[in-house]
Amino acid sequence: MSLLKSFLLFIGLMACAVSGPSFAQSDAEALRPLINDLAKGKYAETEKQIGELVATGDPAVAPALEALGEGDLYFRKSDRMVFIAHKAGKGYALTDPLTLEPAGEAGRREVTKIKVNNKLRRVLRSALGSLTLMAADPQVRQAAAQAIFKAQDPEGIDALNAALAAETDDGVRKVMEEARAAAVLNSDLDDAQKLEAVRTLSDMGNRDALSLLIGVQSSADGAVRDAATQAITKIRKSIAAWDAAQNIWYGLSLGSVLLLAAIGLAITFGVMGVINMAHGEMVMIGAYVTFVVQELIRTSAPGLFDYSLFIALPLAFLASGLIGVAIERGVIRWLYGRPLETLLATWGISLILQQAVRSIFGPTNREVGNPEWMSGAFEIGQMTITYNRMWIIVFAMLVFTGLMLVLKKTPFGLYTRAVTQNRRMAASMGIRTPWVDAMTFGLGSGIAGIAGVALSQIDNVSPNLGQGYIIDSFMVVVFGGVGNLWGTLVGAMTLGIVNKFLEPYAGAVLGKIFVLVIIILFIQKRPRGLFALKGRAVEA
């Protein structure tokens, strides 16, 4: 209840702030006698006074009423002026109840608290509710209505009726109607009204309405009870649908993370047939590039912080891509046609890269900040969508589309596909296959680098960042089918969604184990993945 009270105080203060100082100033003197009358004494008198204050309909009286409820309202014995007072040292610091400006101090014996009892507190609460329901700011009105909804306060019905008559904002009106329905169900009004209320709540259809209706179901009887039961069934169905939608969203989000991590691998493993165990380290390097860029921006140009990711993207692509080309030229090209040896050599490279990063940046996690536009969240229906997850999904799709375009529409993509399908024939046609190999490997590694920029926003940036993704990425590529980017997309999204749907039943770790087992079994059935290459390319 105290939570509700402080909430109402907050609303009241907001109402004051919004209604504007000039408004408060002009009426302050007219209101002051009414406020001072609160000090008259008896509870009954005080209650009458509260009624008169509310009748003015001026939100400026809200802080005084709130302070009264909290027991912070005092009057000065000498002139019976009323103040909001807080303990300060030996005495009290006084605040003017209307203007909310400091009004000096008073000794402990100079002021007396205005007493309240439980009945008065209740009166105060509904009084504050109706005051804020009439506030000028729609957000304040909405918050007040929501407070009544939570409290299910039947005494709020009259205030709500009045407020509804004056309400112009449709959104706020809806919230008020819901609040009214909640209050009606808790009152002793007739069944017709209650049925109407149940209908309103049933349309509302979220968890709050559900718990309210479950309460109604157990307490009411007859037609109301039946209506509540029906409404509960309906709401449960809609909540289940929303939950599924939320799971799909989480799954897509996880899937796009997997896609980002795996898509570079799909190129090096899928298109070139090279097992790159150092792929995860390319992702890690991309994340560390982001870290370095942000550090530089922090020290030299703090204003650019919101653009740090855009600056980091090309740099990460270049850094990882160049390292990739170096690895291809230095090691992998000697090992073509020996996939198992390639696997071992690139594993060795991954150890070296990890240790190098650990020596340079230290073994601990590094702080990479979220820019303004990536933090926060918004709601659709009953789903909460965080901005960073949403941008990562968008980003993954952009990367995927971009890569598709590069492979399908550019001369470089044409060369790559030609070399993939028939290396010797491509060479005979004048394509420099070693150059294409190096560039393709660089492209795959560069994509891993920009994946690292994205992953730095949602994961810890540490030397072990890449290791966490390498097995998952391989699973995605193998599951989706080697040599096919669409397969990678479908594979990543499927694994992401399956993972998220298993999690509520099996827990995160067990869910992951299930997924691994499912993939192991799946590979038995389709050893070459969902979208297997067909025809001659398979033999190559």
């Binding site: 050599a345 594993w347 060795g348 050893p527």
Partner: protein, 409 residues
């Protein structure tokens, strides 16, 4: 017939290896127990345990070499079988603690009391008996390998695909064993062992005994592997490695051969794990780490893929280097290990033993041909280390097939 099987396993190289092993098994424990502490020949306790650990690693490497070197199955999940064997032994050792645990519960290990478990889970039954635990050390990894292999080989999952799903297997087990409610001690694993077969596990004599047991296990498994690889079965395995489809078309049931050698190898890895645990005194899910499995592969590659002696040598050498590096220059170790991966695959594809024996054979060939050209006219002897493998006895073959690994595709 059995004797000829065993006889064929022997040649000069195997003889030298077994002689060295015999010396190690006898001299090192003797140096620890009999030689007084001040003497130059005294083997300190830590060195004994360390070398015992190397022997179990060598056994693990032998198991990996059997499948990778001879059958072309690159397993990135052998640490899983190693750890399972280790857990089976660890469970026996946990049950032996009895009332001496922190909580003094006669039945439940400490971590179960800590987690408020009331009863022993069913899969812990029987582990208070050594014979049962010893059986499980063989059967659990063997069964897992059999089921996994049966599925994988039947549907012809080969090459890197197989490697990656073996890695997924050990990764899945890693995650599973980290869970507390699996009943295997979760993150902390099993530790705080007191005694084994009634002997105090900390005592010098027990440690020496474990060392000898590891050595003997290594020797026995070496002889088994050697017998297999030198038999007709071994030739088929090499054929599978070098040209799987062709072997299949010749009428061999490739998947049966693979499954047999794969399961056998997993059991050996299990034994290695079981001997490893009492010597280091702990088993935890970290042993399932996919990185461990890959490290085993590099031991084999360093020593010489497809040479059993090479696997043992590689395991001991790399681990010795690891011990030294992590003590003296801890930051350099991963650079060194990573560099080793790259160096060995690029410049030493046959490993130390393979390169050495290739060089030696080439030298001999040259000498023989020089002798022939000089007109001494004597027919050359059979090549040095395969007296009973007539398929290899030709002048044109510089090295026997078995020491010349080629990827299947």
């Amino acid at each position: 017939m059995m004797s000829s099987f065993l006889f064929r396993a022997m040649d000069a190289r195997a003889g030298i290896f077994l002689a060295i092993m015999a010396a190690v098994i006898i001299l090192i424990p003797a140096g620890n127990l009999l030689v007084p502490e001040g003497s130059a020949f005294h083997v300190p306790n830590y060195a004994l345990t360390l070398m015992g650990k190397y022997l179990t690693y060598a056994l693990l490497a032998l198991a990996v070499d059997l499948v990778w070197g001879y059958c072309g199955i690159l397993s990135l999940g052998h640490a899983a079988f190693f750890a399972l064997g280790g857990y089976a032994m660890g469970m026996y050792l946990m049950r032996q603690i009895g009332t001496r645990g922190v909580y003094g519960d006669p039945n439940l290990p400490d971590f179960m009391v800590f987690l408020n478990w009331q009863e022993l889970p069913w899969y812990w039954y029987g582990f208070d008996m050594f014979w049962f635990a010893a059986l499980m050390v063989l059967l659990v990894p063997g069964f897992l390998a059999f089921v996994f292999g049966w599925f994988a080989f039947r549907s012809r999952v080969t090459g890197v695909y197989l490697s990656i799903i073996t890695q997924a297997l050990t990764y899945a087990l890693l995650l599973a064993f980290f869970r507390n409610d699996m009943g295997f001690g979760g993150n902390n694993g099993l530790t705080d062992f007191k005694d084994i077969l009634g002997f105090n596990i900390q005592a010098d004599t027990t440690r020496a005994g474990l060392f000898v047991a590891s050595g003997l296990a290594l020797v026995i498994c070496f002889i088994i592997c050697r017998s297999i690889t030198r038999s007709k079965l071994g030739k088929v395995l090499v054929a599978v490695r070098d040209a799987e489809s062709r072997t299949r078309f010749l009428g061999y049931r490739v998947e049966h051969y693979k499954l047999f050698v794969w399961t056998l190898s997993a059991m050996m890895a299990g034994i290695a794990g079981a001997l490893y645990v009492p010597q280091v005194g702990i088993i935890n899910p970290g042993e399932f780490d996919p990185a461990n499995s890959i490290e085993v592969v590099i031991w084999v590659a360093v020593g010489g893929r497809g040479t059993l002696v090479g696997a043992v040598l590689g395991a001991v050498l790399v681990n010795f280097a690891k011990t030294w590096f992590t003590g003296a220059l801890p930051d350099i170790w991963l650079f060194a290990l990573g560099g080793l991966f790259v160096f060995v695959t690029l410049f030493l594809p046959k490993g130390i033993v393979g390169t050495f024996s290739q060089g030696w054979t080439a030298l001999r060939q040259r000498r023989i041909s020089q002798a022939l050209e000089a007109g001494s006219g004597e027919a050359p002897d059979a090549p040095p280390h395969s007296p009973s493998a007539p398929a290899n006895v030709t002048h044109a073959t510089p090295a026997p097939k078995a020491t010349d690994p080629q990827p299947a595709e």
